[in-house]
Symmetry: C2
Subunit: 232 residues, 2 copies
Amino acid sequence: MTSTGRRGRPGAGRTLSEDEILDATLSLLDEGGVTAASVRGIAGRVGVAPNAVYTYFPDKTAVLSALVERLLGEVDQEALADRSTPWRERVEFVALELRSRLMAHPGAVTLMIGGPMEGPNALGIGERLLELLADAGLDPTAAARASYLLITYVFGSLALEVAELAEPGPPPPEPERVAARLIGYSAVPAEAFPRTAAAADTLARYISTEQYLWGLRRVLDGIDRAAAPVSR
Amino acid sequence: MTSTGRRGRPGAGRTLSEDEILDATLSLLDEGGVTAASVRGIAGRVGVAPNAVYTYFPDKTAVLSALVERLLGEVDQEALADRSTPWRERVEFVALELRSRLMAHPGAVTLMIGGPMEGPNALGIGERLLELLADAGLDPTAAARASYLLITYVFGSLALEVAELAEPGPPPPEPERVAARLIGYSAVPAEAFPRTAAAADTLARYISTEQYLWGLRRVLDGIDRAAAPVSR
DNA sequence: ACCTGAACACCGTTCAAGT
DNA sequence: ACCTGAACACCGTTCAAGT
């Protein structure tokens, strides 16, 4: 086949692309977690010497930041900006979308909270959020604070949810139980921590999508109350 | 001086203690960030061969987990359990305490969210939180969810706050500006993201302790509303 | 311009050997 | 029981050399 074969390199011109490197990085991340996404591993997967990666990216963190930006590009910013639906619904929709897209790549969540998100996609989402909160009646100061609160909640939730799977090899197939295990699902001594044991049981029964939405709605309630301090 | 000198080892018996290893780990974490807290670095600091660490801990993650547990032990659980003060004030007090104690060791925050917190101190704090939420009138299911929400908020906030400093060498001395920088303080193109640029300005002006408390109070408002769905 | 081989300064962990 | 030296299988990154 006349595909872009790695063999028989034509003496000049690039045999790779930034996107191919990001593809390889993401697949390694999914298969083996954060530790598997090494420069040497990436190079090996695309069939190139380790240092060839540095032709495309200045260093490893640049590769990972670019990957984060690409994943954030999948978020539907128009849904966030659509004034025909109530602002709370828009937040809930995008929060759920962000969760499902990112939990498909648990290793990437660790990367997101590990560094600042300052690419155009990250800034775009933040900007839409601020517009939306203005729609909700918040003054600019409250909107700034509320947007930061929402970002904190969403990424904090995902970080805690992912923490349990972060450790060995490929991620286990039951992300729903994570929230429960985080507060000690497996082996909580019920004598010493009776309420914790019962709570772990509760959170194990309710799937974590429900928990995620419940928390988000409490946050939105709090923002709502701040938005209308007089009219009620 | 007849201090516990590392030289002239007495042929038998331990020259170290778990606590000495944790002290060394914490100081390395504070001085050089997460990457500086290596097994070889720890061993070097306590004056021992790298593999001697494995006499005291099974592996590196065990060292880090023990350190996390020790830091959580500094939290005043009695303040959380003290029924003579209103439940919201108790949460705010401990949330502020947790923030000041952990932001003194930014590298440790990364460790906390990186893995499950399941030591006795972590479980103890969770248990006190559940008791407190029962005091607030929440049924066990709502209390389980609210406690998870509060944990998410506190550690999510700290994780985002610390993300900016995580990168090189010793942490910069201005943790107050971090929140602002996180959403692009440094170089937000105001033409493309006008609200973000203005919000960054807002968050830069208000110190992040205020932002932290503002968010916490929105969360508490939301929980409060869930606690009393009928009586108002 | 892009890729390679070789090297540098690191990792965490294991193992056989010494006391 | 505790520590050491040496080794193994890795890292990210740099540099001189080749096309």
